[in-house]
C-alpha cells in the first residue's frame, strides 16, 4: 500500500469522517452543547459537581468512532427484547459499563444513602406538620404530568418529565431509567439545571402568593428531639413506607439507612465514607454515564424543548403548591405557620430552605426560618421518593 493509501485510510477512520456520516452533524452540535454546559458549570458554577461530569460525558459520547458509548446497546431493539448483557460486557466501552449502574438502578439509591447521612430529620420530627408541606410541593410532579400528557407524550414519558418537579436529581434519574430511558439525557440535564436555579425561580412565586404580613410570621421554637426518637424515626419510616409502597422501598430504605448510620453514632467510619468518598465516586460515575446518553438524535428534538418547558412548569407548580398549602396552614393554626416554609417542600436540600430563610429575612431581618424550613425540605425528599414509587407502580 502506498503512503497516500495509508493516510487516506487513517482519515476515513478518524472522527472527522464520522461527522459526514448519516446524522453525524448532530454529534457536532452536541459537542458544541457540551462545551456550553461546561462553561456554565465552570464559569457560572451551575451545580458543577454534576453538570461538569454530565457535560463531559456528553462530549465523550458524541465523538464519532470513539466507541466509549454505544446507545444502540440500550435503546430501540434492546428495550423490546431485553438488554443483551453479554454483548454490552464484551463489546462495550467504558461508559457502557458505567451506565449499567444507572440502568440497573444502582447509583441513585447509593446517592440517597449519602444524602441520608447528611440529613438531620430533627426539625421534621419536632414538627410533623411539615410532612404535609413536603407532600403539597409534590403537586408539581403531577401538574407537569398533566401538562406533558396534554402535549401528547406517552404516559411513561410524561411521568418521567413530571418527576423533575420533585427537584430531586437521583429520584428523577431513577424513575426515568425505569420508565423512559431514551429521555434520560435531557431529563437529567433539565433536573440538575433547575435545581441550580432554585434561588432564582422560587422567590418571585413566593412573593406573589404571600402577603407581607404572612411573610413576617415568626414561628415557635422547635422542641428538642431526643436521640432515641432520631434513631427510631428512620427505622419506622422505612417499615411503614416500604410495606405500603414497595416500589419506593429502595429509595426510602437507603435514605433512612444513611440517616440511621448518622444518628446511631456507633458507625462513624462508614457514615463518613457514605457522605464523602462514596457520594463522590457515585457522583462521578452517574454524571458521566448520564451525560453519555445524550446523543444527537434524541437530544436535539422538539421533545427536549417540551421537557425543558415542562420541567420549569413542574418547579413553579411545586413551589406554588407548597406555598399555598403553607397559607392554608397559616390560616388553620391562626397565624403560627409562616407560609414561606412551604416552598421548601421541593426537595432541593438545603437550597430551598435557604431560599425560604432569605425571603423571610427580606421581610423581617430578625426572622430565622432556616431550621423551620428544613422540616418541609427533608420531608420533600421522602415525598418525592414516595411519588416516584407511585409513578413507577402505575406506569409499569
Amino acid at each position: 500500500m502506498s503512503v497516500i493509501d495509508t493516510i487516506v485510510g487513517l482519515m476515513e477512520k478518524s472522527g472527522f469522517a464520522g461527522f459526514f456520516q448519516d446524522g453525524g452533524y448532530l454529534n457536532l452540535i452536541m459537542i458544541g452543547v457540551s462545551c456550553v454546559l461546561m462553561y456554565l458549570a465552570i464559569k457560572k458554577q451551575f451545580e458543577p459537581l454534576l453538570l461538569l461530569p454530565i457535560a463531559f460525558g456528553m462530549l465523550l459520547a458524541n465523538l464519532p468512532f470513539a466507541g466509549i458509548y454505544h446507545s444502540e446497546f440500550f435503546s430501540g431493539e434492546a428495550l423490546k427484547e431485553g438488554l443483551d448483557f453479554g454483548k454490552i460486557l464484551h463489546d462495550g466501552g467504558l461508559l457502557d459499563i458505567l451506565y449499567l449502574g444507572v440502568k440497573l438502578g444502582i447509583y441513585p439509591p447509593l446517592i440517597f444513602l449519602g444524602i441520608g447521612c447528611m440529613t438531620d430529620f430533627g426539625p421534621l420530627i419536632s414538627n410533623p406538620k411539615s410532612f404535609l408541606l413536603g407532600a403539597a410541593a409534590q403537586l408539581g410532579i403531577f401538574g407537569a404530568f398533566i401538562g406533558a400528557m396534554a402535549l401528547g407524550m406517552q404516559a411513561n414519558e410524561a411521568a418521567s418529565i413530571g418527576i423533575i418537579g420533585g427537584a430531586d436529581g437521583p429520584t428523577a434519574i431513577f424513575v426515568t431509567s425505569k420508565l423512559a430511558p431514551h429521555l434520560l439525557g435531557p431529563i437529567a440535564v433539565a433536573a440538575y439545571s433547575y435545581m441550580a436555579l432554585v434561588p432564582v425561580i422560587q422567590p418571585p412565586i413566593m412573593k406573589l402568593l404571600t402577603t407581607k404580613k404572612e411573610r413576617r410570621v415568626r414561628m415557635e421554637q422547635l422542641r428538642d428531639v431526643s436521640k432515641t426518637e432520631k434513631i427510631i424515626f428512620p427505622i419506622l419510616v422505612t417499615i411503614v413506607v416500604s410495606l405500603l409502597l414497595p416500589d419506593a422501598a429502595v429509595l426510602v430504605g437507603m435514605l433512612m439507612l444513611g440517616n440511621l448510620m448518622r444518628e446511631c453514632g456507633v458507625v462513624d467510619r462508614i457514615s463518613k465514607t457514605a457522605q464523602n468518598e462514596l457520594m463522590n465516586i457515585i457522583t462521578i460515575f452517574l454524571g458521566i454515564s448520564v451525560g453519555a446518553t445524550t446523543n444527537g438524535q434524541t437530544f436535539l428534538t422538539l421533545d427536549t424543548i417540551k421537557i425543558i418547558l415542562m420541567g420549569l412548569a413542574a418547579f413553579c407548580i411545586g413551589t406554588a403548591g407548597g406555598v399555598l398549602f403553607g397559607k392554608l396552614m397559616y390560616l388553620l393554626t391562626g397565624g403560627k405557620v409562616n407560609p414561606l416554609i412551604g416552598s421548601a417542600g421541593v426537595s432541593a436540600v438545603p437550597m430551598a430552605a435557604r431560599v425560604s430563610q432569605k425571603v423571610g429575612q427580606e421581610a423581617d431581618p430578625g426572622n430565622f426560618l432556616l431550621m423551620h424550613a428544613m422540616g418541609p425540605n427533608v420531608s420533600g425528599v421522602i415525598g418525592s421518593a414516595v411519588a416516584a414509587g407511585i409513578l413507577i407502580n402505575m406506569m409499569s
Binding site: I125, S126, P128, K129, F131, L132, G134, A135, Q138, L139, I141, F142, F145, I146, M149, A150, G152, M153, Q154, A155, S226, T228, E229, I232, F233, L236, V237, V240, V241, L244, L245, S379, I382, G383, V386, A387, I390, L391, M394
Partner: protein, 146 residues
C-alpha cells in the same frame, strides 16, 4: 335543564376525548388524583405515627425537663464559661491576638482557684494619665507590704 345537559355533555367530552397519545382526559385525571391522594395519605399516616410516637416518648421521659433547669442554675454559679465581650477599640488585625493573649493571661491567673472568670470588656488604658503599666507594676512591687 339546559345547564344539566350541557355539563353532562362537557363531562362526557372531557372524560372520553382522546388525546394525541391515545389516552383520555379521564385516564389523566385518574392517575393524577390517585397519585396525589396516595402521596398525601402516606405522609399523613407518617405524621400520625410520629405524633403518637412523640407522645409515647414524652410519657416515658417526663422527668427530663425539671432537673435540667435546676442543673443549669446551679452550674451558672460555680463554673461560668469565660467569654470575651466586645472590645470598643478601633478595628485592627492585632486586636484578636491581643484579646486572646489577655484572655489566656487572665485564665492563667485564676487557674487552680476553681473559679472561671468572665471578661466583660477590654479597654486600652489611657497612658496620658499616670504611669505606664510596667511602671505601675514596678511601683506596686516595691511598695507592697512584706
Amino acid at each position: 335543564m339546559f345547564l344539566n345537559s350541557l355539563s353532562a355533555k362537557v363531562g362526557k367530552l372531557l372524560v372520553e376525548k382522546t388525546l394525541d397519545n391515545g389516552y383520555t382526559w379521564g385516564d389523566v385525571t385518574n392517575v393524577t388524583l390517585s397519585g396525589i391522594a396516595i402521596v398525601f395519605g402516606m405522609l399523613v399516616l407518617l405524621v400520625f405515627i410520629i405524633l403518637v410516637f412523640g407522645f409515647i416518648m414524652g410519657m416515658v421521659n417526663p422527668k427530663n425537663k425539671a432537673p435540667k433547669v435546676q442543673k443549669a442554675k446551679v452550674e451558672k454559679k460555680k463554673t461560668v464559661k469565660p467569654s470575651v465581650a466586645s472590645v470598643p477599640t478601633a478595628v485592627a488585625s492585632d486586636d484578636d491576638e491581643v484579646i486572646a493573649v489577655i484572655a489566656a493571661a487572665v485564665n492563667a491567673m485564676y487557674e487552680g482557684s476553681g473559679k472561671k472568670p468572665i471578661i466583660r470588656t477590654i479597654k486600652r488604658a489611657d497612658r496620658k494619665v499616670g504611669r505606664s503599666a510596667w511602671g505601675s507594676a514596678g511601683v506596686f512591687e516595691n511598695t507592697r507590704a512584706f
